[in-house]
Symmetry: C2
Subunit: 621 residues, 2 copies
């Protein structure tokens, strides 16, 4: 990866650290197991290609995680670099990055001896040794840059205390032990220096397409920006393509990260501006500044997107993203999200994205289509809900009209909600039967919106339905959350990347507004309350005045599951395909996809429920 800090990834011929191979027995409250031997790493350092994915865990980059994925074995191999080991560390996974109900690998030292074990934390954050040891230590090695720990973990262990590694976002957590501890149980999680990092662990296993010899590159990078000393900054920078820049195909792009800023650059996107405007003002500053020209809001067409932990993005060999030429704007907007929780001052940054493009156009232009819900307040989430579901439809009627007979192939997907989003999934349905998951993230975070390559192309034909379902959490809100563009409003969108490009840009839905009006009338009459349902009051105002209780909540759910929809089957955000799109029937599903049955590790061998002792020498006090 270009621009990555080199100290962690360069192989260096340092003396390997020996592990004492000890077998002993321990008693736990759960069971007694035999301790098996630790397999020591051989003297050679692991090759960089062994661990193609890398991410810093903490904002200072003290912990650096590399990993690889074996789909045949259904196993992830982790290599954790600890730059400055004190008295141990915790590494693990949990539903949304919390330290309660987490699944953890723990390395701890009592000042003399060090141990490694698979543990879990209960709802109070108390650590327990796991009865089944599924983080399997493969080795440990000292190097000048720090200690390397190597371990593996099956996707699914069938141990109810363990995290199930699935497609989509995984919330990794870490904690650093700064004092010796006498036992695992003695670790006080709340007193640790700790944090979380989101990654897509199960990267798709995609072969890199051959790249043409006439490929050119263009770096869209920030002009030596001083990163503001605040936790969150969205930086905006306008770039202009040369005059008469002809049509090219972007066939690949990759991040360019200023050395030392790997832990600060959270994600970056390059947008193309709207072709309607002849020119856009130059700008270089925070995206939320009052000084930012309003016209920059018309630069929303995604050309490239990168997020921490992501690698280079390759288009499939048949397709490229059109870029330049008549009918497209010469103006691009680079947006960088700096995440600076330790409030470093005076850090300079010139990160960005390097586009690889070619004038030798590929067979197909790639396109991007929006699936999900229309940005409208008629789709709303009551307050105080832990998992409220909204669904947006791309109907058979729209796909029949807009897709070519040979269909389209979806190869990548970017899921999008605002702050209340917790899960997003799009399912393909044909003849009323669910056929295939297009993309799913059961641990979705609005703070981690990557463009993700799909594991396999999804073919969509005329008459197919694409159903996008978002799950929201509004437990911390006291009034309804309506759909819309605002950060406290919500969206439910899947931007699917596909080829060949069609005219269909939007295939989204929302509940019929007339039926929603009946809902407000109903709530008003049922609850004997003064809910103003007069037409001059806005839909958000009406939602805000609903007296929320389980009945009004359940009836809203029933309405969304029953009322006809208004379809946006659009060529561009303002131009609909011809046809009747109001009061359309909801798609009916007669057959659901079966729940996936987790594959358990074959023939569970002896996995000790006891810590594995490690000889790491005397640790720093």
């Amino acid at each position: 990866l270009p621009g990555m800090q080199s100290s962690g990834s360069k192989p260096c011929p340092c003396p390997s650290f020996k592990l004492r191979e000890v077998a002993s027995m321990y008693f736990t409250m759960i069971a007694v197991f035999l301790v098996i031997l630790v397999v020591a790493l051989q003297g050679s350092a692991p090759r960089r290609s062994d661990f193609p994915y890398k991410v810093p865990l903490d904002p200072q980059g003290m912990l650096e995680l590399s990993w690889n994925v074996s789909y045949p074995e259904q196993v992830v191999h982790f290599q954790l670099l600890v730059r400055d080991l004190r008295f141990g560390l915790l590494f693990g996974m949990s539903d949304r990055g919390e330290f309660e109900n987490a699944d953890l690998a723990v390395l701890w030292s009592d000042g003399h001896s060090s141990y490694f074990g698979d543990a879990w934390s209960d709802a109070q954050g108390q650590l327990h040794m796991d009865s089944q040891q599924d983080y399997q230590l493969l080795g440990a090695r000292r190097a000048p840059e720090g200690l390397y720990l190597l371990f593996r973990r099956a996707f699914s262990t069938c141990d109810p205390k363990d995290y199930l590694i699935e497609d989509g976002t995984v919330h990794l957590i870490y904690g650093i032990l700064e004092k010796p501890v006498h036992s695992l149980q003695a670790i006080n999680i709340s007193a640790l220096h700790r944090g979380l990092q989101r990654v897509q662990l199960l990267k798709p296993n995609i072969t890199v397409p051959e790249l043409p010899s006439n490929m050119k590159t263009m770096e869209i990078t920030a002009p030596n920006v001083v990163i503001p000393s605040q936790e969150t900054t969205y930086w905006c920078y306008m770039i202009e393509l040369p005059d008469h820049f002809p049509k090219h195909h972007i066939i690949m792009y990759e991040p360019v990260i200023t050395a030392g800023n790997e832990a600060l650059v959270h994600h970056m996107e390059v947008f193309q501006c709207a072709a309607e405007f002849d020119s856009f003002p130059h700008y270089n500053g925070p995206c939320d500044s009052k000084m930012k020209p309003d016209r920059l809001n018309y630069c929303r067409h995604v050309l490239a997107a990168w997020a921490m932990g992501a690698q280079a993005f390759y288009y499939p060999k048949e397709a490229g993203l059109a870029f330049g030429g008549p009918g497209s704007s010469r103006y691009l907007r680079l947006e960088i999200h700096y995440h600076n929780p330790l409030v470093f001052k005076g850090r300079h940054d010139s990160s960005g994205i390097r586009l690889y493009y070619t004038a030798t156009l590929r067979r197909y232009d790639a396109g991007i289509m929006e699936l999900g819900l229309v940005y409208t307040p008629v789709m709303a989430i009551p307050p105080g809900e832990d998992a409220f579901i909204l669904t947006g439809y791309c109907t058979d009627k729209c796909s029949r009209l807009a897709l070519p007979a040979a269909g389209i192939r979806i190869f990548a997907s970017q899921l999008h909600t605002h702050l209340a989003g917790r899960k997003v999934v799009t399912v393909l349905s044909r003849d009323g039967r669910e056929r295939q998951v297009v993309n799913a993230d059961g641990h979705y975070s609005p703070h981690f919106q990557e463009i993700r390559m799909l594991k396999e192309l999804v073919a969509v034909f005329p008459g197919d339905e694409l159903i996008t379902t978002c799950t929201y959490n509004t437990e911390d809100r006291s009034r309804a959350t309506v759909g819309g563009f605002g950060i406290l409003e919500e969206m439910c969108v899947n931007y699917v990347h596909y080829y060949p490009q069609t005219q269909l840009e939007l295939c989204k839905s929302a509940v019929d507004p007339g039926y929603l009006h009946r809902y407000f009338n109903l709530v008003n009459r049922f609850n004997d309350e003064e809910v103003c349902t007069c037409p001059q009051v806005s839909v958000p105002q009406q939602f805000f005045s609903v007296p929320w209780n389980s009945f009004n909540r359940d009836v809203l759910k029933s309405l969304y599951g029953f009322a006809p929809i208004s379809m946006h089957c659009n060529k561009s955000s303002a131009v609909r395909f011809p046809g009747e799109w109001e009061k359309q029937p909801l798609p009916t599903i007669t057959e659901r996809l079966p729940e996936p049955v987790p594959r358990c590790p074959p023939a569970p061998g002896p996995r000790p429920a006891a810590p594995v002792p490690l000889d790491l020498g005397q640790l720093r006090r």
Copy 2:
């Protein structure tokens, strides 16, 4: 068991049938397993006490099932007597007695050799060999009365094709092969002579209390009735206790079945009449006859109940059911359900129930309390539903008022619904947390309403809540099913038998009628339909005029889950305890009972996926 046909149960010293012990290998589409050896029964016939439970499977009694239950092993041992073996038989279990998606043990013959195997039927009724053989054949033996097959089956096998044996009703199915078949797959299920029988397989393991020496018996039996030659008859017969019959305790009762009628007598109940009336007319005839005096409808207090497959019913040693004495009616009604699907003519019957009672009163009078829903049309089920749920509450307020500080002990339970009932469960909740299942039947059938002893006493204290949930299927109905006494109306009741007796006879609920009225208004306005919600139209009429769709259905569900309730906290069906019982809040549940995790058989040994050959000699063509 008194009155049971003797041929099947008498041990007889007949020559035991030898099994050829053969090990061979078979290939199936699923897997290859080693065939293990069949364990031959030793020469001695099994003792009757080995299989304490017995039931005929078919109306002619050709197949007779005996079984026992081992709770430590979590296994049921079956002994199946086949009186006239042709070319094999099917025996198995399915959700509600259907032959599709069933779990089957199959004995079949090609005319020369015979085989036994564990099979399953798919949704089309096609048979397949099971990849895991969980019906384990233990032996086969010929006797003058027929062939005995002995096999065992774990409650839970963790094979997704297998039926999970749970508490409550199990629908057993059987089929008789009248022609040789070349393979399991060649069996055409729809062409078989076949049927179903309902039993409680998992009988509670209760030690019989010691019985007093001064115990007397009284037989309440039909007076040599000619069983009508029609499939279903409910026969009513009035009996009178002697004048001045003093108070006794019934401490046990058992069925008395006329020999030969074991397969025809489906269930029997003895009811005591209401004490308000000095006399009741004599009657001996069908319960639905126009000649039956109306006053017999006041004989509804259950004294004893028996259903096919049930044994003697013993009261706990501390308690007995009060019977006789001042304040109780001298009149009893015996009701016998004859099930005569083969329309036998001229069969005479004098079956009934033998009561065992004593004048030496036990410490506590036993009582019966009704839990669940009030018999009122406000609780209704929309048409076309496969699993609609209604819930009745016995609230903390009522139990606090009516129960003694030391609480009561529930020892038995009889679940009751009309024809649409599919599941019934009562859960005890304390301080908003579900604590214990009182009684549950996930395969409930309205045609099999036994009084069931609980596996353990359930202690209920003042302030506890008892929540009874019924699941209904109305897929075959075109209009709403309302609550009420009619056979096409519904009930949701758990008659719990407990001690010490209290004044509380009814602890049931129904939705507040005012809220239901709002529902009808809401449906009317939302659907733009003419639903007459005028007060002069009855609640059933209003339900019948609802235009049913998923919205109106879901809103009714939401209403039942939200609206306050009207409580019937009654001393007798007409007399409420003092207090405010209208518009009571619904009990809230903050913690549910966890779903039980089925225990899989320990260390699955080699179980062949291939039929076990049996040498049964030449079978009759």
